[in-house]
Subunit: 460 residues, 2 copies
């Protein structure tokens, strides 16, 4: 089904010129109001279309809290790009208004030098917290958790807790206060306490007596797949995150895991298309975009030479039967298409957990049967085309048999390669495509030209 | 960064043989217990590895409620496959235990005949509700909403509402009861009522007086992008869904939108790899998988013939300078890689809403600058290779200039094509790739062979 074309912004367009004008001529209140009146999508659109200088003016003029809100709406790479427009002190002032985990997301996306400069400007405790968080990869619990939460020691009484909450009421309203977490003197998680329970118990009781003991938790190092599985199997909206010693480090919300799942799926798509050096947006500098894309392209051109070498090896055959040159790119492209389909299905089944990275034979057999049908159909089609084109039935046999066999090879490799890569710790989304293309091109060219060499007397 | 290899299942493996054994020899209780003890991932793995007959035995032996729970854990295509293993009456008995929206998801994934047979077996009201829901596409509010909710008329008093809730307590505990929705006599949404407010008001008051009036709502036809934007801009966990007349049709939860976002991103990846006829899992029958893949491949083979025709047109040039045949597949593949990178960035920017489908020129210019750098580098590289391979500097000039120019063409087309397709209501994830490949192949072959024809005297 085609996506419905919708552009809810168009009807109510506010051009970036208006934001620039108000930033330069209006009051701070007008600027805040104008930005507040925009949807998140409008803000993202406007800031991706403004000149860098104009963006910096807006960020500098806004109260730090409003600027933090604004930047918090954008995805991490866009937020990092905007923060880099400011001097490190101004950047630090804005970042301080964000929750620690969001600070870490943005700072983690900055080049090391810029990140360090901003960390220097942050208060020591804040900087240390950010440093601890940026050490975790984005796709493990430590990289997705929030670190601000209600955390109390088990000897505290209900009265003490209520007192503390009341004193910090302003701060706590920003947090997800469904649960409080109870720790021992070493900071180890020993219990959780649904907040509403505080209302139903005597005020002199200690948390250690009324908490739910031995609560479920996940490790800081738990990977996305395990966390997705956790939230699929449990109805909780959040789960405490602990380190190897059981010390409470943060809280992971269901929503953060879902957000990361969207990102992982989007990244798989980007990587399969050759965007592998990190997110690219056209607001980034040309040299950076060019360099990242080239790193991928240069590996591919090198791999392509391998396939070209096969053609070079059979140059004499090609010279005798020049019609073969017309069919080489078709064989290469069609095998690539068939193989990519098999790659995609393996990636899907791996992500659903319904195949394991060790089930080579099962996957190969399931691909072989489909490849046999599709190879025969495609081989038959191309054979007919070759005979119509050249008049020589043997040319049809050569290209038809070659495409049929190479389809079988392509789906076999395409199905199994993602499992192998995964099994040995590589990222199948990045590496499957080029590996597949190289091998199927080499095999395809070898099959066409090898068969032609054997049947050369019939072809000329 | 490489994905961490984790396979939480392996340590605690329960082979599908055990499930089959217990299904055949154990009691119903043992079977329920065994399945209950498995994580969702284990269940998915086990049922994708059992024989169809064995799966059917398990589903028939389980109490309908447990079978519904089990099937509810799987994704829609897998659930639909399992339901098809049963006679329509048994299938209907199980489906009835699911919420209406899940029933609709599964039935919507069945072939029309099977779907109709099951609908016949469902109670009339239930079947009508399912029919209404299956009419919505998956990616609009109507296709994602739940239809079971607390809904009261505005003339009702608080006492009547509390009474009704108490009578249906068992049913209501399954629902998300944070809000009740208030409708007029025609079913039009007129207010919402946070449930806890019922506790603080006099029991004789009418809902119309105490509800929040004119609540936010979304249309049944609102597309995914608009809904994602809604939940980005508002903190609510759910929003009422109304039809064009304002009649309350269901409630849309934030989680359902996020789930659909994951699915959309996964589908973009699958479609870009040529899985376009609907989800494919290797548990599906070979003929179905083969047919769906072939529909895509046969379009591609046809498009490939266009590019091959360009080579055929220049056959004489090729015959004179056979070394050109070695470089044709490289030009084709490298241009495809460069173009796909541009496609991916456009898809990403479209999904982030930071470009609009009308901004051809902006996107083209941003691509042109990168293409100029990358084309020069790649063209230079391939020129050096050609000279080393053949010894003739003019061959280097021909393939180098051709690859440079064709890289510019590829990134221009790759950047703009997704916008054009989107603008005119086509799905850019499906169609961008083949369109791009065909045009860049034709241009690439034309450039190499055309240049070679012009410089033929220098090349031979």
């Amino acid at each position: 089904m085609n996506d419905v074309v919708t552009d809810p912004i168009t009807e109510n367009d506010r051009s970036w010129e208006e934001v620039v004008r108000v930033a330069n001529e209006g009051s701070v209140e007008e600027l805040s109001e104008l930005l507040d009146s925009m949807s998140v999508a409008e803000q993202a659109y406007v800031f991706s279309h403004m000149e860098d200088d104009a963006e910096a003016v807006v960020l500098r003029r806004l109260p730090a809290e409003d600027a933090a809100d604004l930047i918090g709406h954008f995805n991490e790479s866009e937020a990092a790009r905007m923060i880099q427009l400011l001097e490190s002190q101004a950047a630090a002032t804005i970042l301080q208004e964000m929750p620690i985990d969001e600070q870490a997301d943005v700072i983690g996306d900055l080049p090391e030098k810029e990140a360090e400069a901003i960390l220097q400007e942050l208060p020591q405790q804040n900087a240390d917290n950010v440093r601890e968080l940026t050490a975790y990869p984005d796709n493990v619990a430590g990289g997705m958790m929030v670190v601000e939460m209600l955390r109390f020691r088990s000897e505290m009484t209900v009265a003490e807790v209520i007192d503390e909450i009341n004193r910090g009421a302003e701060h706590y309203t920003d947090l997800d206060v469904r649960y409080a977490y109870v720790c021992d003197d070493e900071g180890r998680l020993v219990g959780v306490l649904p907040m509403q329970n505080l209302l139903f118990v005597k005020r002199y009781r200690k948390l250690g007596e009324i908490m739910i003991k031995d609560p479920l938790s996940v490790r800081t190092t738990a990977p996305l797949e395990e966390l997705a599985e956790f939230f699929e199997s449990h109805v909780y909206l959040g789960v405490p995150v602990v380190d190897d010693d059981g010390v409470l480090k943060g809280v992971l919300h269901r929503e953060a895991v879902q957000y990361e799942e969207v990102r992982a799926a989007e990244n798989d798509y980007l990587k399969s298309q050759g965007i592998v050096g990190g997110e690219e947006l056209r607001t980034m500098p040309v040299w950076l975009r060019s360099r990242r894309r080239l790193s991928w392209l240069s590996i591919n051109i090198f791999l392509n030479l391998g396939a070209a070498a096969v053609i070079a090896y059979f140059q004499e055959t090609l010279e005798s039967v020049i019609a073969l040159a017309v069919f080489l790119p078709i064989i290469s492209d069609m095998s690539g298409c068939s193989g990519n389909q098999a790659v995609a299905v393996s990636m899907r089944e791996l992500s659903l957990g319904i195949i394991r990275p060790t089930e080579f034979f099962r996957v190969w057999w399931k691909e072989f049967t489909v490849g046999l049908i599709n190879g025969s159909v495609l081989g038959g089609l191309i054979a007919v085309v070759a005979v119509l084109f050249d008049g020589n039935p043997y040319l049809g046999v050569v290209v038809g048999v070659a495409l049929c066999l190479n389809t079988l090879i392509a789906v076999s490799i395409g199905g199994v390669v993602p499992l192998l890569l995964k099994r040995f710790g590589f990222d199948p989304a990045v590496a499957s495509g080029p590996l597949l293309t190289t091998v199927t091109d080499m095999c395809g060219f070898f099959l066409v030209l090898g068969l032609a060499t054997v049947m050369l007397s019939r072809l000329t």
